[in-house]
């Protein structure tokens, strides 16, 4: 076991990826000399040199397009978009090129690209820099979308994403950078297509991803003290969604509560809820419930920001209600 921060886990993942092949390189704003705006790639420039750790101009559309071009040309680029908030500027490249070229080329041109972006809420970055846009990307056929809600996934998802022949969007979480956790060493590889049961239980399924995973685990721990055995299912892959794992969990617990910080309408939670209805309606012993971020532009003050996103105490209360 080693204890390390989420940031360090990400860095180790990147290092492993860079070491795995000369074709792998990182490009993004301030990833080199500055060490990454969240210090994830700090020291990698010295370790791998400027050809592998590439600072780019402030043009998300430009450098994402460059990444797509490099992937088409046989390289294995990792594009870092500083935060998800700026990904909108690269949306055309992502949706109309990365996600579509395999189809447009009749299967001749695949795009083996990994796009990392830091995501989420919780550091008082206000309405323009606190987005949870996993649902936007999970909507698009041609992309794989994964979310690193634990240290384990922060460490291992980059490598797994690189091995995929098609574009993968990898969400990392700003608010978790300094969070420490124990990790097995060495870690087994992750299977990006599968959700993972983080905690087993029989009374209710908490279905979550990303920043919701640790919140749910915390809530499940509180609930265990009251004798409620709650299961925590980390979706990990938001496109495709592992319906089988969701159904298996609901078949076991007969109650489901979705938890994530994104706005509720037309969200991952909506999608999971619909899949439960479609696939295991007759297993439900209570209506499916959702806890999401409030549908407002993110407020700046700390207390209002806290009020706008899901807190573990809310999860505990909601589960108590659902279990009567």
């Amino acid at each position: 076991m080693t204890r390390l921060t989420y940031r360090e886990a990400l860095k180790q993942g990147l290092r492993e990826a860079l070491q795995s092949s000369d074709k792998v390189f990182l490009l993004g704003e301030d990833v080199g000399r500055y060490g990454g705006s969240f210090a994830v790639s700090k020291g990698l420039l010295q370790e791998f040199g400027p050809d592998r750790i590439m600072d780019v101009p402030l043009s998300e559309s430009g450098f994402t397009g460059a990444g797509i071009g490099a992937a088409l040309g046989g390289m294995r680029p990792i594009v870092e978009i500083m935060t998800v908030n700026f990904s909108l500027l690269a949306m055309d490249q992502i949706v109309n090129n990365a996600a579509t070229l395999l189809h447009m080329s009749g299967g001749q041109l695949n795009v083996p690209l990994v796009i990392r972006m830091s995501c989420g809420i919780g550091r008082q970055l206000a309405a323009q820099h606190s987005h949870s846009w996993e649902p936007l990307f999970a909507h698009i056929p041609g992309l794989k979308v994964v979310s690193a809600g634990t240290h384990e996934d922060a460490r291992k998802m980059i490598m797994a994403a690189l091995l995929d022949p098609n574009p993968v969007i990898l969400f990392e979480y700003t608010a978790m950078m300094n969070l420490e956790a124990d990790m097995e060493d060495p870690l087994p590889a992750v299977d990006l297509s599968k959700a993972k049961l983080r905690k087993s239980g029989k009374d209710l399924s908490l279905i979550t991803y990303g920043s919701g995973v640790y919140k749910c685990l915390h809530a499940a721990g509180e609930l265990a003290k009251e004798g409620m055995e709650v299961e925590v299912l980390d979706l990990r892959s938001l496109r495709p969604i592992d319906t089988e794992a969701i159904v298996a969990s609901v078949r076991k617990t007969h109650r489901a509560l979705m938890v994530d910080d994104a706005w509720q309408s037309v969200s991952i939670s909506s999608e999971v809820s619909a899949r439960i209805m479609e696939n295991c309606f007759y297993e439900l012993d209570a209506p499916v419930q959702r806890l999401n971020g409030l549908e407002v532009p993110m407020p700046y003050p700390k207390h209002l920001e806290d009020a706008a996103i899901v807190q573990p105490s809310q999860i505990v209360n909601k589960v108590r209600q659902m279990l009567g």
């Binding site: 007969h254 439900l284 012993d285 659902m322």
Partner: protein, 375 residues
């Protein structure tokens, strides 16, 4: 040709067992004759005919359980009987279908899983109490039901208990009761009664309870609002039929009615009580003594506690409670005395009447008890 159907012997009766036919086809009957015994939750009840005529074919076999409204026989006129008219026989099934109300499509809130399990195990969700959010039936509720053993056939006294339970629960659930009480000086009544009893042979002597009953029955005339039923609104009744609560030794209650109590003399009331109380205890009451009650009286009798607050028997709108007669200090005209007193309580349906009505009613009873010679 008049059809004779299984009567409803109470608002909560759905069906009854025919235990005995007391007539055979061709017998001549007149209004009020008892033609059969029917067992309900309230025990075995003699059922009467309401028309004169000749009994037709008996359509129900002894020990058959049939829903209220099922055709049992016909009452024929002399001419019809002479002409040998045979009523067209309806099967029990048809009759039942004809009278049973259309099934109420009530949506039962149950989880999909609870529904699935209930279906697999053949459980009627209507019989399951939900404990989930908003009272929804959950898997646990259904499973709890399946664990219960099927209740054994209940004895008559258990049936009476359940009938009382159902009626009282309904009452407390639906009726907003209000309560009034007053304490009455019984000296005049008791003195008058003692004098009257001196002139009467032992078996005809009066008990205080008949004075009370008569005083209450006459008060019903003066304040008719409480001599009523609640049937989607207050409905005053023309007759004063006082239900008298009789405790059964095996537990439970029977409330036989003394019909037209306001028209009966004290002597007649005494006879009526002596007749009906033993029959109530034996559960041998007539249908007309059970279903026409307009006001119930519960009287605890001698040596009992001082007051009793009743629970209204629906669809009635009031119940009177008479506590035990006892000696108490009594202030009157600035002087203190010891008198025989009795506390009268009234529980009444606030939907039908207000406190002022109840007040007038209790004052009327008091006034009647102070003028025993007029009773």
């Amino acid at each position: 040709m008049i059809p004779y159907q299984m009567p409803s012997l109470g608002a909560d009766m759905e069906s009854g067992f025919l235990r005995e036919w007391k007539v055979k086809p061709g017998d001549t009957v007149k209004r009020g004759d008892i033609i059969a015994e029917v067992e309900t939750q309230k025990g075995i009840i003699d059922i009467e005919v309401f028309d004169d005529g000749i009994i037709g074919e008996l359509l129900i076999k002894v020990d058959d359980k049939v829903p209220v409204g099922t055709l049992m026989t016909h009452i024929l006129t002399k001419d019809e009987a002479a002409a040998g008219i045979k009523p067209e026989k309806l099967t029990v099934q048809q009759a039942a279908t004809a009278v049973s109300p259309p099934p109420v499509q009530r949506h039962i809130k149950a989880s999909p899983l609870a529904r699935k399990i209930a279906e697999e195990k053949g459980i009627d969700l209507a019989s399951v109490k939900g404990t989930g959010p908003d009272g929804a039936i959950t898997r646990e509720d259904v499973e709890r039901t399946t664990q219960k053993t099927v209740p054994a056939e209940r004895s008559v006294s258990e049936n009476v208990r359940m009938a009382v339970a159902a009626a009282m629960s309904k009452s407390n659930r639906e009726i907003p009761h209000y309560y009034l009480d007053t304490t009455v000086d019984m000296t005049k009544s008791l003195t008058w009664m003692a004098e009257a009893n001196k002139k009467l042979p032992l078996q005809e002597r009066l008990l205080p309870v008949v004075l009370i009953l008569k005083a209450a029955a006459l008060a019903c005339r003066e304040v008719p609002d409480l001599n009523a039923w609640w049937e989607n609104g207050p409905v005053k009744k023309d007759h004063v039929n006082i239900g008298f609560v009789v405790s059964l030794r095996s537990g439970g209650l029977m409330v036989p009615s003394i019909n037209d109590a306001d028209q009966k003399s004290l002597a007649q009331l005494m006879v009526a009580l002596n007749d009906v109380i033993p029959r109530a205890r034996a559960m041998k009451l007539k249908s007309s003594e059970l279903v026409q009650t307009t006001l119930t009286v519960t009287s605890l009798g001698e040596g009992a506690v001082e007051s009793v607050y009743g629970v209204i028997y629906p669809p009635q709108v009031a119940i009177l409670g008479f506590g035990g007669i006892h000696e108490a200090p009594w202030a009157e005209n600035g002087m203190l005395d010891v008198r025989k007193v009795m506390t009268i309580t009234l529980a009444a349906d606030h939907r039908a009447t207000d406190g002022q009505t109840g007040n007038r009613f209790l004052l009327a009873i008091n006034k009647n008890l102070q003028q025993p010679e007029k009773l």
